[in-house]
Amino acid sequence: MSTQLRTPMKTALGLGSAKQGLHHFMVQRITAVALLLLVPWLLWLVLKLVTLDFAAAHALLAQPWNASLLLVLVIAVFWHAQLGLQVVIEDYVHGKGSNLVLQLAVKLFCFLGAAAGVLAVLKIALGR
């Protein structure tokens, strides 16, 4: 008599893909398109910042449109970085422990970076 209580059908079902693979691909592309548009704007912003003193730089970034675009940029940058670094680690780091530690470190760094960046932009935009 079989010791397994599950039916053979129950054991066989649900062993396909996790239906999650496309999500990584899509978000990587969506953030890529966002950054494709935002990076030229960032370049314009940085080249302008080079010529400005603190007060003028602060005022420039505090403008609602600039602050909004910066918020989107910060979130897109750290999300895109997390997705990219995740794949690099998956490909080259084969130790189970080191893979886990690195993946965790990347995710925590990216979350922290995004949180700190968003907070800084909000403080510039709303403060003073």
């Binding site: 370049l43 970085a81 800084a120 403080k123």
Partner: protein, 131 residues
């Protein structure tokens, strides 16, 4: 060497050097560099939020030798990753896959990234006046 010395699939050192492998490796390398470079973005924003003293520190570091060197490398990484990222998105749409096109737009990305970097830094040096 493992116990049974079966032939392995060829690895990097077996292949003739070609632009296709270079653009792919550089995309990952510049991606990693840019991930580290997010610290530049983060430090600048936090400094601007913190006040004039911190902002002056960031500006001073940006003008230092090491700062300029890092920012130059970061600019090229960004220019390359941006252009090659655009190339990847176009490839996702099925564009530019014929071998001669693939090789040509690979070289275009490499040349374009260098030209963009030079243009940006000509602007920077012109605006911040000399060093």
């Amino acid at each position: 060497m493992s116990a049974n010395a079966r032939p392995l699939s060829p690895h990097i050192q077996i292949y003739r050097w070609q632009i296709q492998m270079m653009t792919s490796i550089l995309h990952r390398a510049t991606g990693i560099a840019l991930a580290a470079g997010t610290l530049v973005l983060l430090c600048s924003l936090l400094a601007l939020a913190a006040g004039p003293e911190r902002w002056a520190d960031v500006a001073a570091f940006g003008r230092s030798g090491l700062g300029t060197f890092l920012l130059l490398g970061w600019t090229w990484s960004l220019a390359y990753h941006w252009l090659n990222g655009l190339r990847h998105l176009l490839q996702d749409l099925g564009w530019g896959y014929r071998i001669e096109q693939f090789v040509r737009n690979g070289w275009l990305v490499v040349a374009g990234s260098l030209i963009l970097t030079i243009l940006v830094w000509v602007c920077v040096f012109a605006q911040r006046g000399g060093a």
